[in-house]
């Protein structure tokens, strides 16, 4: 292998598994260290810079970071990254005075955002400090999008939403509530806007066309519309026996909301076995804790109606053959089953829909009627019109919508400055040694064997009394203090300088997890088999040095389960290894050269 090119910012970024997996590249280990030091507001701001809504995300983020977390490979469970985010949000002090100031004198450019969901709010958050005048149009009477209308308040309290959305709106955003955009043509022609961002989400719930659907319509609900009615208090009750069709995250919110509106017997009906479920494991656990029954291998067949009223549903009982790689190779029906029900909620997916965008404006749609959007710039085929969030590529989640918003804001800014939207500052990485002196490192390099802390919940007796009782209580101070120590500080990188190495083996012998090997070079696949512990996880890089002075062998580090303990650097007599903190610079609109030049500031 060639010596690893660590000048590519990707290399060290990727070592920080959580940050690499986070769509917005939140600097996780940094905020965890700040929490450990009791610097909650600082931790909150590190979060906010990337993910904008730490209090919200600290409760309901999809957390792609956690399955990626290195700790989950070293022992059983990853660091409770998301829960710690909430710790920062819950304990922070006033932070608004520490946000970028909003210029009094505007730059003369007006931006329209359609929909007040997290995508549009992020665009506003990034552009307001640059002097833009941002107007957000929202059809409903309150901002927040699905975060407000679909995520139930027992998971995400109103107060948290209000605070974090308020911080953006109060930058001087013009928020037009109850203002549905009915025609893009009109907006483009008469709005007086220099650029338009479409953050209208994916509001259309999927239908299930089966016999009886029409006749029983009164008791069959589309999941996301039903949750919205619940959020706006239009629906206050539901029948005793409820069937939820589908087993994604929407289904989980529907079943748990049903229980709070009077349902006694709630079943979630899944077509396939558990390993194929779309819902996150923790959402399934939370639902099961509330005695929701999840029934597998049932494919909906018909709604059973008697006397114009829903009686229940019939299902095909399914059987599947699964191969060694976990894929379904065959399926067959082995029988039929009837289940009685008073109400059925359909939670089988959603789509974006744009009946209000005329098709002759130069905004092209593909054959599935989905707008053509550039995956880097988020520009549509009409210059100056951008899409982001669920509106761009269909339903994802909040953290993706936020990152879309950041990227779209860069494009809007470039566009309004008359610069090519594809001209964007590349990500960068800074490295700084963490050596303090003899045997001292300026980070907590000790490995803590503590197991993942469990989130305390409101008791089953209490939580159903009102729909908006938040179930998760948040970590106690003791739990937070222990959990932060589980983070391995993956951003404190092991940096190797081949010319200093005297091949004494000290680092190899001390490494507790056998990451290091000095060996003759080879092709990657073969080299991986020859390391002290075979490097079987090919998604993790090998860090290969230049040839060593004495023997021409190479130093190879398998990044996979390095616990960043720093013992290699501690033991090396020549300081060939050093522990250096990497800081990933993931640029936002304010970091673009055109923005920093305009503000007369240097990029932070």
């Amino acid at each position: 292998m060639n010596p690893t090119d660590t000048s590519r910012p990707d290399y060290f970024h990727k070592v920080v598994d959580c940050q690499w997996a986070c769509p917005a590249h939140t600097d996780v280990p940094e905020y965890i260290r700040l929490i450990a030091q009791g610097r909650f507001t600082d931790a909150y701001l590190v979060n906010r810079k990337s993910n904008v809504f730490p209090g919200i995300l600290g409760r309901v983020c999809d957390r792609p970071c956690e399955p990626a977390c290195r700790r989950g490979r070293v022992e059983k469970k990853p660091v409770a990254i998301c829960r710690l985010k909430r710790v920062a949000a819950d304990h922070k002090d006033e932070f608004r005075d520490r946000l970028a100031p909003i210029p009094q004198i505007k730059n003369g450019k007006k931006i329209a955002c359609i929909g007040a969901g997290c995508a549009s709010l992020t665009v506003a958050n990034d552009l307001m400090p640059l002097g833009y005048e941002v107007t957000i149009f929202e059809q409903f009477g309150e901002p927040g999008g699905l975060m407000r209308t679909n995520i139930p308040s027992f998971r995400l309290p109103q107060g948290v939403l209000d605070e974090e959305i308020g911080a953006i709106i109060d930058m001087g955003v013009e928020l037009k509530l109850g203002h549905k955009i009915e025609s893009m043509r009109a907006l483009l022609a008469d709005g007086g806007f220099d650029a338009v961002f479409v953050g209208s989400g994916a509001p259309k719930g999927k239908e299930l066309k089966l016999p009886g659907r029409q006749e029983a319509a009164a008791n069959i609900h589309i999941g996301i519309a039903w949750l919205e009615s619940v959020a706006f208090d239009h629906v206050k009750s539901i029948g005793e026996r409820v069937l939820i069709i589908g087993v994604g995250n929407t289904a989980m919110d529907c079943c748990r909301s049903s229980l709070r509106l009077g349902a006694k017997n709630v079943k979630v009906m899944a077509r396939k076995p558990r390993q194929f479920f779309k819902a996150s494991e923790w959402e399934l656990e939370d639902a099961e804790e509330e005695n929701v029954q999840i029934v597998i291998n049932r494919s909906p067949k018909a709604f059973v109606v008697e006397g114009g009223k829903l009686k229940g549903m019939t299902f095909d009982v399914m059987e599947y053959d699964v191969d060694a790689r976990g894929r379904i190779t065959a399926e067959r029906i082995t029988g039929e089953e009837f289940l009685p029900a008073d109400d059925v909620i359909l939670a089988i997916g959603q789509e974006n829909a744009f009946p209000w965008i005329e098709r002759d404006l130069g905004i092209e749609f593909d054959k599935w009627d989905v707008p053509k959007v550039d995956p880097v710039t988020f520009e549509s085929t009409r210059p100056g019109v951008f899409f982001g969030g669920d509106a761009a590529f269909g339903p994802k989640n909040i953290i993706w919508a936020v990152e879309h918003g950041h990227q779209a804001a860069i494009s809007v800014h470039q566009y309004c400055q008359g610069l090519p939207v594809a001209d964007r500052l590349a990500p960068g990485v800074n490295l700084q040694s963490r050596k303090m002196g003899m045997h001292e490192w300026s980070y907590s390099n000790d490995y803590s064997p503590v197991e993942r802390r469990l989130m305390p919940h409101v008791s089953l007796k209490e939580r159903f009394k009102k729909i908006n009782i938040e179930v998760e209580l948040g970590f106690t101070a003791e739990q937070a203090a222990e959990e932060v120590q589980r983070c391995l500080n993956c951003d404190v990188q092991t940096i190797f300088d081949a010319k200093l190495c005297i091949e004494c083996d000290a680092c190899i012998d001390i490494c507790p997890v056998d990451c290091l090997t000095m060996t003759p070079n080879g092709e990657e696949a073969e080299l991986r088999t020859r390391l002290k512990a075979p490097a079987q996880n090919v998604t993790q890089a090998l860090y290969v040095s230049a040839p060593l002075k004495f023997t021409g062998r190479v130093m190879v580090k398998d990044e996979d389960v390095c616990v960043h303990c720093g013992l290699c650097a501690e033991r090396c007599p020549t300081a060939a290894w050093d522990m250096q903190k990497s800081h990933v610079k993931w640029p936002h609109a304010a970091d673009q050269p055109s923005a920093t030049a305009a503000a007369g500031l240097k990029s932070a």
Binding site: D446, I502, A506, G566, P573
Partner: protein
């Protein structure tokens, strides 16, 4: 040294030996040696070797004298027994322990100072008595612990850190051991675990005195330009001539050695040492020729490594010579161990 202990966390797929233990179960206390010291690498090799032969930690006896090298017995197999004797006197302790219990693995760790200066006499007699033990000399050419004075293994012309040049001829432990009739004589290098680990395993299993002279650079006092025991010098001059691979009883020999070249030596428990000659004209089983060969190469400034001499069958081991009881003394019934005052009277009467 470091003040930060190695955390207990381990690679999730760390292999287990026949006893269900991982390599980490054979570790010891935190090393207090200088970072980069060759002795620490040898410690790691001992750990690997003991794990590899599935030695029960409680069956390992660690013996040493005084010196940085002698401190290392604390750094491996914390579940074993240990004795840190006075300077140069480890062989006597080893003999006493060995006499009392032949069922254990005896690992003596010594230094060039401990064995070739103050302890030279003890070392020679341990060979002569053919103690069943593995004797490791962690050879760095200096007294590391007392801050780097030349030891008896320092070569003529080698330079001390402050510049003075050694004038006295060295004592070479390999030649000395061959001369005194040791049956297992090896030389290796702390920086070559592929060679050292199987040597240690073979030495532990060898029924008789097994000595390995391990070149082990002292990073602090003898790793400079002009030293003949530095990492750089050793890397340049060491020359493996016989590779010895250790094959435990349970495992079949994998046939990746050119047949004819590999010579298996079967030990009493069925395990084997496979000797692979890397130099055509070298015969490690012929003590006389091996002695000459090694001496010639030393004169040329080459450091030959590997299992330089192996006497395959060995009847003259300490226990056989002295007809000691099969059973360890602590397992003999008390009456047998202590025949009583009457029997003592009888014995004493013979000398009156």
């Amino acid at each position: 040294m470091t003040f930060i202990p190695k955390p207990k966390v381990a690679h999730p797929s760390l292999p287990k030996n026949a006893l269900g233990l991982t390599r980490r179960d054979y570790e010891g206390a935190l090393s207090t040696l200088c970072a980069g010291c060759g002795h620490d690498s040898i410690t790691a090799a001992i750990i690997e070797a003991c794990w590899g032969i599935s030695a029960r930690p409680e069956n390992v006896v660690k013996l040493s004298g005084i010196g940085c090298s002698s401190k290392t017995t604390a750094y491996f197999v914390s579940g074993g027994h240990g004795f840190n004797s006075v300077h140069g006197r480890m062989p006597s302790i080893a003999m006493g322990a060995n006499a009392a219990n032949r069922d254990l693995y005896y690992v003596g760790v010594s230094g060039d100072g401990d064995s070739l200066s103050i302890g030279l006499g003890q070392f020679c007699h341990a060979i002569r008595r053919n103690l069943n033990m593995l004797y490791l000399i962690e050879n760095n050419g200096v007294y590391g612990l007392t801050k780097g004075q030349f030891s008896a293994s320092a070569d003529i012309g080698t330079k001390a850190k402050k510049g003075e040049v050694n004038q006295q001829p060295p004592i070479d432990p390999v030649l000395l051991a061959m001369n005194l009739g040791a049956g297992f004589v090896a030389r290796s290098f702390s920086g070559d675990k592929a060679q050292l680990v199987p040597l240690i395993q073979a030495g532990l299993k060898y029924p008789g005195f097994a000595v390995i002279d391990v070149l082990s650079p002292c990073v602090t006092f003898n790793d400079h330009e002009g030293s003949t025991k530095s990492y750089a010098y050793t890397r340049e001059h060491f020359e493996p001539v016989v590779q010895a691979d250790f094959v435990p009883f349970q495992r079949e020999i994998t046939a990746d050695y050119g047949a004819g070249q590999a010579m298996p030596v079967v030990l009493h428990d069925g395990s084997r040492i496979l000797l692979r000659k890397l130099a055509e004209d070298y015969d490690p089983t012929d003590a006389g020729r091996a002695y000459g060969y090694v001496q010639e190469h030393i004169a040329k400034g080459e450091v030959l490594t590997g299992l330089l001499h192996l006497r395959p069958t060995d009847q003259s081991e300490f226990h056989a010579l002295n007809r000691t009881p099969e059973q360890p003394l602590n397992q003999l019934p008390y009456a047998k161990l202590s025949p009583g005052s009457k029997a003592l009277e009888k014995v004493l009467a013979r000398y009156r």
